[in-house]
């Protein structure tokens, strides 16, 4: 109940400000106006949201898979650690969002640039969180593995991997927060479809209510994504 009350309070405050200040609707549309825009443009918004959601899902999928594969590789191969770890630290220092114009330049205005941007911002948190978890096997389990003369691969799969799941969960949480930013920034830089593109377009046409409608959809997508990641992470925490 409290979240719904908070939401109602926020909407009420928003409407009150619009009434009190008589701000023009192309600067700040009232919640009622935004709701109407949502209702009237269902088809348009739905189609654009589907594009954004598709790119988001593919980018997340690719980033998570590659991140997990990299972490497992680093965990099992000391030579990979020596080679790739400094590279990973360096890559993390690069502001990935700043790469959006370059990615768009190379991959064009279509889906690939969005997918790659999402994959890029997902890849690093997943890789580093999962890798940290894999390398932090508690001392007593390490003793057990040594006594049992564990081989590297079963040790990784039976001890390190299950132990690292909570860390992977926190990596996924981070990725879920970052991914919607990445897809929107990529759409802002250059796209012909998607919610980010629709926001720019409606902004240019002073259709601020439609822009807010797109923003609300985007917020809803981000929230659902985070809740899903959080749920998974909580499941692994237990």
């Amino acid at each position: 109940m409290p979240p719904i009350l908070a939401l109602a309070f926020g909407l009420g405050l928003w409407q009150a400000i619009v009434w009190a200040t008589a701000v023009p609707h192309f600067i700040l549309p009232s919640p009622v106006r935004v709701a109407a825009a949502l209702w009237e443009n269902t088809a348009l918004l739905g189609a654009q949201a589907a594009v954004t959601l598709g790119n988001l899902a593919m980018g997340l999928g690719a980033g998570i898979m590659l991140g997990m594969a990299t972490a497992l590789n680093l965990a099992i191969s000391p030579s990979a650690r020596i080679l790739l770890r400094p590279l990973m630290v360096f890559a993390q220092a690069v502001p990935v969002f700043a790469l959006a114009p370059i990615v768009t330049l190379w991959l064009g205005y279509g889906a690939p640039s969005k997918i790659v941007m999402v994959a890029l911002v997902t890849y690093f948190p997943v890789t580093s969180a999962f890798f940290d978890g894999l390398m932090r096997l508690p001392a007593d389990l390490d003793d057990l593995a040594r006594q049992m003369q564990a081989r590297p691969w079963p040790r990784l799969m039976l001890l390190q991997l299950p132990h690292a799941l909570p860390s992977l969960g926190s990596g996924l949480r981070l990725a879920a927060v970052q991914a919607p930013f990445a897809v929107i920034i990529a759409e802002w830089v250059g796209a012909s479809k998607g919610l980010g593109h629709l926001m720019l377009l409606s902004n240019g046409r002073a259709q601020t209510d439609l822009m807010f409608a797109a923003l609300i959809l985007l917020a809803a997508i981000s929230l659902c994504l985070f809740l899903a990641a959080d749920r998974l992470a909580r499941h692994w925490d237990r």
Binding site: D140, Q147, M148
Partner: protein
Amino acid sequence: MTAPDLHLMGDLRMGDRLLCPGLDLHCAAGAWTVLLGPSGVGKSSLARLVASLPCPAYLTGGITADDGASLAGRVTLMAQTDQLLPWADALENVTLGARLRGARPDRGRALDLLRRVGLDGHANRRPATLSGGQRQRLALARTLMEDRPVVVLDEPFSALDAATRATMQDLAAEVLTGCTVILITHDPLEAARMATRAWLLDPAGAAPLDLPVTSAPRRLSDPATLAAQASLYRRLMAADDAA
């Protein structure tokens, strides 16, 4: 697999610090050698050294088996913590060794061992759903599953309540028959009950302890056991004062 006699020789040192000088401990095959002592004297280090686990301490004379073969792969250590995997059920925990070596686990034997330690019907339970005593039973079954002739027990029952501890001691004595057992403990009663031979380790070295002539495990109600416990307490407290 016949159990070897073990010989622990030399000074137990950590860097340039001498923990316990002049060890000359003979651990007979099929017997329980108990090492009693105040904390900080290196008992657990000694346990880890016998089990070839990484350890900052070292024994100058080394640890040798009377059959001349290396101890690698012949020792298993049961620690104070049960080291159970929280995400795996009882059966998976017992069969962990084989699975870690990439071998096919012997399910039938694992179930049989679970029954022997009194966990019949608990094969699918996670450790979190078991009591402290049941968890140590499970750890014991996992230790037995490894089928090693030398078993080092590093205070495995110290966290259990008195009654459960006594039951576990009887069970361990029964199932570890024939093994060369080294039991590390700071509990004089445990030493008095379980030891075939017992040594007091303190910074001055290792001293043999007097035990009843009866064979282990000795009954709790036996006056000789309790007398031994009392005398071990006195020795331990004297060692503590000296330290």
